[in-house]
């Protein structure tokens, strides 16, 4: 029966009236997507792979010369690039851990019957709906040492959040945490509401403490969805650009995307920047793979 449903069309449908076969309809839906992917994703990806082995500069009419692995070799031997990677790693750790702690914490607080829960959740989601550039610009004002509201509220005098090289990266991460914790909160909330109530009831009957309940019931059951949130946020944080670029120009906040941007569009070292983009891509793939493996493990449990 099921087979019949898949291979034949309802005679009264518009597609049937136009005489389209199932194959045509399938192609109609899939081919544009595949063409789009090939033209805008796969082709540039392969093309830039080719460029990464050349000394091509988009700003110069000179022909590109094949230089083998020179770009990769020089990039991986460049202490500035390694410093950019170290900054990025630090940023990813601070930012993602912060978002998980804040986001999951708020989700736990919201996962109970409280008045105006819907409105509260919606309001908490507002930061992630804003544009990165706008968030960057107004947090720059909030951090201002002369008139910023953060120093005023915390009584920090003229503490320099963005000009202090040691503090600037944390300031960018705090802004990112403010913006993206709601995302983690939303996914956690979905996970938390799916935890069967009877498990808590059983734990209560067994007189399990709240600490025990959290670590033995809540966390393991929310873990898979929390892992998905962490994967997304890690990938995003790894390639972060806007916030760090707008908020400060400290070398201590020059994450790898900013270096890549400067190399590609200010210095116009197109070949070398393609190589750097590939190095970043490989790193993101590797990190995501580790996460996905861990996610599958968590799911199996």
């Amino acid at each position: 029966m099921a087979t019949t449903m898949i291979t034949t069309l309802d005679r009264s449908s518009r597609s049937a009236a136009r005489g389209m076969s199932d194959l045509t309809i399938r192609n109609l839906f899939i081919i544009p997507t595949i063409v789009f992917l090939i033209v805008f994703n796969i082709f540039p990806l392969l093309y830039s792979l080719g460029y990464s082995f050349t000394d091509f500069r988009a700003s110069s009419p000179a022909a590109a010369n094949f230089v083998g692995l020179q770009n990769y070799r020089e990039l991986l031997n460049d202490p500035f690039i390694w410093s950019n990677f170290a900054i990025t790693a630090k940023y990813v750790i601070v930012s993602v851990v912060g978002q998980v702690v804040v986001g999951f914490g708020v989700a736990l607080l919201l996962n109970r019957d409280i008045p105006l829960k819907g409105l509260l959740t919606t309001l908490l989601l507002l930061p992630m709906m804003l544009s990165m550039a706008v968030v960057g610009l107004f947090w720059k004002l909030l951090y201002d040492p002369s008139f910023g509201i953060i120093n005023y509220t915390l009584g920090l005098g003229s503490f320099e959040w963005l000009s202090n090289p040691d503090m600037a990266l944390y300031a960018v991460a705090i802004t990112d945490i403010w913006m993206w914790s709601p995302f983690v909160m939303l996914l956690s909330l979905a996970g938390l509401s799916a935890v069967p109530k009877h498990l808590y009831e059983a734990a209560a009957i067994d007189r399990a403490g709240s600490f025990y309940t959290f670590f033995r019931i809540t966390l393991p059951l929310v873990a898979p969805i929390l892992m998905i949130a962490i994967i997304f946020r890690t990938m995003e944080a790894f390639k972060t650009f806007d916030l760090a670029y707008i908020l400060t120009s400290q070398p201590t906040t020059e994450v790898i995307s900013i270096r890549l941007y400067k190399m590609a569009f200010q210095e116009w070292q197109t070949g070398r920047s393609c190589a750097l983009a590939y190095i970043v891509l490989i790193m993101i793939l590797a990190i995501t793979n580790i996460y996905v493996k861990y996610l599958n493990k968590v799911k199996e449990r």
Binding site: S146, S158, L162, T248, S249, P251, Q266
Partner: protein
């Protein structure tokens, strides 16, 4: 029938639309520039051209931090969005070698612009390579770095007395970099929310480098030999080490949060009563004598970049020349515009509107020199200017200098000697990569 009618109407519409746009294109020119006051003055000037010739000219702008990226993205894509660009002086090598700019040598010679325009503007805005006799731009906006200061603070009898007691000489416009430092230190009073000096520190483009250049050039140093690409012993010379140390010391007398400061912040230092002295391009001084934008306009004074310890006095060159873009569809119209732009009366009007003309005749006129409190300083400075590298790989050199110098100035990392030695090595490697300096 209905279908045929619809198709016909659509066809007629299309033809009309295309026709209109072609007609409009013939009569329109777009000039690309950075977003700042002179671009507004230029728009006012070109409105006069429209009134005269009927050709609409639009000055399109973008923030300084994106100016280079946006311009070169368009050039590299061989786009025709802009007909002319008022491009930075250091772009000229990259843009001319890549064929983005139309060669204006014939135009330059025909109108004898080498004599008409101030020599420094011809050398740095128009000619590439150096002394080649090939010209790519018409000097449009002359500019250099100068200083503004709070006359009321300087002339306060109590301050004058205290200053003399502390430093042993009279408080006044600094006669050299040593005095500049002393005055900055004297007025630096964080408890009173008053600070000594505002300098350029933004490292996203050329602001910080321009600021440091003011010190380097006046201390008798150079960035390198622009003809041979030699940098060893020049960028890391004794004078440059001292100049960099002096600039770093000035940073310690700046207002809090001064690690990403450029022209807006430096003017704010004067308008918001933050600093006693402020470094800025002359192009931003009109805003400081305007009471609408500066409540301290009446008590704001100006001076040229002071000499260094050996009496050398130079300033970092700003400003731009106007070039015709090779991919423009309206090159002929653009050349006609340039013919109008270089006329004496246009240049005079340009100066009146607030633009910094590069026309020697206008600059030398007493009328121009007495028009504002800073025009005379500007005129004098324009004969003592030096600029950054203009080679096609200048952007890499600029980023390398930012990477080395910024952590030292704002983050206290390393010594001036270590920073400049490392920079010399970076620049040598870059020049080697592009085969420069091989004869």
């Amino acid at each position: 029938m209905r279908k045929t009618m619809t198709s016909m109407l659509a066809g007629i519409g299309l033809v009309l639309a295309c026709g209109t746009s072609v007609y409009a294109q013939d009569k329109e020119l777009t000039i690309f520039w950075a977003e700042w006051d002179p671009a507004n003055y230029l728009q006012e000037l070109v409105n006069l051209y429209e009134a005269e010739s009927g050709v609409k000219v639009t000055v399109e702008t973008t923030p300084w931090s994106d100016f280079q990226t946006k311009a070169f993205t368009e050039f590299n894509a061989k786009g025709s969005a802009y007909d002319m660009v008022v491009g930075d002086s250091q772009w000229i090598g990259a843009a001319s070698e890549a064929g983005h700019y139309v060669d204006l040598t014939d135009f330059f010679n025909k109108h004898n612009l080498k004599e008409v325009m101030a020599p420094a503007t011809v050398k740095y805005y128009a000619e590439y390579p150096s002394n080649s006799g090939k010209y790519w731009s018409i000097p449009a906006e002359g500019d250099a770095v100068g200083w503004s200061y709070r006359k009321d603070w300087f002339e306060d009898p109590k301050e004058m007395e205290a200053f003399k007691a502390k430093y042993g000489y009279d408080l006044g416009v600094p006669k050299d970099w040593k005095q500049l430092r002393d005055i900055a230190e004297f007025f630096h009073r964080p408890d009173e929310k008053r600070y000594g000096v505002a300098i350029y520190t933004d490292n996203s483009y050329d602001a910080l480098v321009m600021g440091v250049e003011n010190a380097i050039f006046s201390f008798g140093g150079e960035l390198g030999d622009y003809a041979t690409y030699k940098v060893d012993g020049i960028i890391n010379s004794e004078q440059n080490v001292k100049a960099l140390e002096a600039y770093k010391e000035l940073y310690s007398f700046t207002p809090p949060g001064w690690a990403k400061a450029f022209f807006i912040e430096d003017n704010q230092a004067i308008t918001e009563n933050l600093a006693a002295m402020s470094m800025n391009y002359f192009a931003f001084f009109p805003a400081l004598i305007n009471e609408a934008s500066n409540p301290n306009a009446k008590v704001t004074g100006f001076f040229a970049n002071p000499p260094g310890p050996n009496g050398d006095q130079f300033a970092a060159l700003g400003g731009q020349g106007i070039s015709v873009i090779s991919y423009s569809q309206n090159q002929e119209e653009a050349m006609k515009f340039l013919e109008w732009f270089i006329k004496d009366e246009t240049q005079k009007k340009w100066a009146e509107l607030g633009g910094y003309t590069a026309s020697a005749k206008v600059l030398e006129s007493p009328e121009f020199q007495n028009a504002t409190p800073y025009n005379k300083a500007f005129y004098e400075t324009m004969f003592k200017v030096k600029d950054f590298w203009a080679t096609p790989e200048y952007a890499e050199l600029l980023i390398q200098m930012n990477q080395r110098v910024y952590p030292y100035i704002t983050g206290n990392q390393g010594t001036a000697k270590e920073v400049l030695d490392a920079l010399a090595a970076d620049w040598n490697a870059t020049f080697k990569k592009y085969g420069r300096g091989k004869s």
